[in-house]
């Protein structure tokens, strides 16, 4: 695919960038001012590669008349204007499945970290407080806690299977109940009811118009002063200012957050809180998974160039 002009929106992965450079005609979007780049190269771009934070919005799609395919280095494609792509006949691919386990592992790791205060206890030791102040406080057990999952897709199911090994009863909400598929999980028709019946609420659904701020003030208050919110979806799934306020005044017990509304910016107030665990969008952040994601992007581009069926098409 040496003649395929690929526009990489951001330096998302060294291996991916290296392979794109080796196998395609690679353009790096961040190397020159946007308008200058588009004037010079817009007509040569047939493929765009972005990720969770850098996508092909309507403006960019309009500026690339030769665009044939958007291959996202992510499973969530909320930053790609899918309607525009359908309109223009542009294909869209993502990276499902290869990152499912990593994201589910992180969700469980965050839940344990929040309830058992592992990063906080680690800070306590590093600050010399174990010696000077004595024993750390009691924390909260994770095993047996009621886990509510918003979205029982690939990632949601992977979370469910993991927490079952900790004897956690699993409940869920999504558009449809699938009682025959999940006889051991309890379905709730609304997120508020799910939250009211959960100790740990995990966001694992895609971000779209109907799931924006699906974790509202009402949901967080239903989860309650002992409840823990785990977000491994997208920042905009949660009403972030309401969450910060609820955590600050104890209406929400704690949170483990991998995603934020305005990454890489994290609300200042959270940085001073002791009942939260904050990580910088590392859900798929392992060497193994990022390579698998990169190979999937490359495989999709190659299939496109060879007019073969795309590996993981969304559009």
């Amino acid at each position: 695919m040496e003649s395929l002009g690929v526009l990489l929106l951001h330096p998302v992965n060294a291996y991916l960038e290296q392979e794109l450079g080796r196998r395609c005609r690679l353009y790096r979007f961040w190397e020159s001012p946007r308008e200058e780049f588009l004037r010079a190269h817009a007509g040569a771009v047939r493929a765009v590669v972005g990720n969770a934070n850098y996508g092909a919005d309507a403006a960019l799609i309009d500026a690339l008349p030769a665009l044939e395919i958007v291959a996202s280095f992510s499973v969530g494609i909320d930053r790609v204007d899918l309607a525009k792509c359908r309109e223009r006949g542009i294909r869209v691919t993502n990276t499902p499945d290869v990152l499912t386990d990593d994201v589910a592992d992180l969700a469980v790791g965050l839940a344990i970290a929040v309830l058992r205060r592992i990063p906080q206890a680690d800070r306590y030791v590093r600050a010399g407080l174990w010696k000077s102040r004595g024993d750390y406080t009691l924390t909260t057990r994770f095993s047996g806690k009621r886990v509510g999952i918003i979205g029982l897709g690939r990632i949601g199911q992977a979370v469910a299977r993991r927490v079952e090994a900790f004897d956690c009863p699993v409940s869920y909400h999504q558009r449809t109940e699938q009682a025959s598929v999940y006889p051991n999980y309890t379905y709730y028709p609304t997120v508020v009811e799910l939250a009211a019946n959960s100790d740990v609420l995990v966001v694992a659904c895609p971000l779209n118009a109907s799931t924006r701020h699906i974790v509202s003030r009402e949901v967080m208050e239903a989860l309650g002063p002992k409840g823990v919110l785990i977000n491994v979806g997208r920042g905009p799934h949660v009403d972030e200012p309401e969450m910060v306020a609820a955590l600050a005044d104890g209406r929400l017990g704690g949170a483990g957050l991998d995603v934020f509304e305005d990454e890489p910016n994290v609300p200042e107030a959270l940085l001073g809180m002791d009942n939260v665990v904050l990580v910088p969008h590392v859900g798929s952040g392992t060497y193994e998974t990022r390579k698998a994601m990169a190979d999937l992007v490359l495989g999709n581009l190659e299939a496109h160039v060879l007019s073969k069926p795309l590996l993981t098409p969304v559009v």
Binding site: L106, R116, I118, L138, F166, N265, T286, E288
Partner: protein
């Protein structure tokens, strides 16, 4: 030294030889038994307290003890309070109790059974995920405001498919294994003897286990055979991509060797809840992002404290009503 108002039958007299219990623990005991609390008494040293208790019209028939209380339950102790017929230990480990001597005298011994197992297993898994996925390191990165400045955070390692060698497959080790299997790990183990009907591969020694493992989890009791069971040879066998998780006892691991191996990059990381010479952890580890340290907290959740209280009461009630203990410890039987 005498117990507070005694509605409970005077025959249910219990020596409490354990420091630092919370109010609800004391309340639960006092509701049902007459409690003689050494750490609240004015009668120290211990021999005077025990002497006074033994000489009372209704001497104690049970004693609540724990290893960290530093009171060995040996022949001398049992001689000092000959009325004792039951020893209730608040932990799983009973190394400080002379089980043979107790058996000789017809004194029954109970321990904490599996009260703490789930919490310790959860903590071990939490430490493992933290080290492999760099959770605490990433947390520090965010809290220091580095995300907008430096962009990406270093990648971690995938957990699924990783070979985890568990040293000690008792209550705790088994619970760890079950959780790690759900995370896609391949579990193997070493134990004094192989366990029937577990699906995990058994290794007769820890060195061979380490050769075939990416992560070693120490979940065994501390005794003569397991002191420094993870030492230089085992660390070398584990290798430079290997990770050690210790929720046993600090002395299960040769700490000086571990620190050296971490400093020299001969192993990849460690998740440690226990250390030699607590409180405190080796300062050389404090600047390392591939190490997670917690201050011996694996058992300490609000739920386990409440479960322990119920467990102690249930064992003592069983004893006082002539029933068998719920979690008896016999001489030469595995503590786990």
């Amino acid at each position: 030294m005498m117990a507070s108002r005694g509605e409970p039958p005077a025959t249910k007299v219990v020596l409490l030889l354990v420091p630092h219990k919370d109010a609800s623990f004391h309340a639960a005991l006092r509701e049902r038994f007459r409690v003689l609390d050494f750490f609240a008494s004015e009668c120290s040293p211990l021999p005077a307290f025990l002497g006074a208790a033994a000489a009372a019209p209704e001497p104690p028939r049970a004693a609540i003890v724990v290893g960290a209380g530093l009171i060995p339950v040996d022949a001398a102790f049992l001689d000092a309070v000959p009325s004792l017929r039951c020893v209730m230990c608040l932990a799983a480990g009973v190394d400080f109790i002379d089980l043979d001597e107790c058996a000789r005298r017809g004194v029954v011994v109970a321990n904490s059974g599996s009260v703490f197992s789930a919490d310790v297993a959860d903590h071990a898994v939490g430490l493992l995920i933290d080290v492999l996925r760099r959770v605490s390191a990433a947390e520090r990165f965010v809290r220091r405001g580095l995300w907008p400045v430096q962009g990406g955070h270093p990648l971690g390692s995938k957990i699924g498919g990783r070979r985890v060698g568990i040293i000690g497959l008792g209550n705790i080790g088994s619970q760890i294994a079950k959780r790690l299997q759900a995370l896609g790990c391949i579990v193997c183990y070493n134990s004094r003897t192989p366990k029937d009907s577990v699906p995990y591969r058994y290794f007769t020694n820890v060195h061979d286990l380490a050769v075939e493992s990416d992560v070693l989890v120490v979940a065994c009791a501390l005794n003569k055979a397991t002191r420094h069971i993870v030492g230089k040879d085992v660390l070398e066998a584990l290798g430079k991509d290997g990770v050690v998780v210790n929720i046993g006892r600090g002395a299960n691991v040769d700490q000086a060797e571990l620190v050296r191996a971490l400093k020299e990059g001969r192993i990849a990381g460690a998740g440690l809840d226990v250390f030699e010479n607590e409180p405190g952890a080796p300062g050389e580890l404090f600047c390392m992002d591939n190490v997670v340290m917690t201050p011996h907290v694996a058992v300490f959740t609000a739920e386990s404290m409440s479960d322990l209280r119920d467990h102690v009461v249930a064992n003592l009630e069983a004893f006082f009503s002539g029933q068998p203990l719920l979690t008896p410890v016999l001489p030469h039987s595995p503590v786990n």
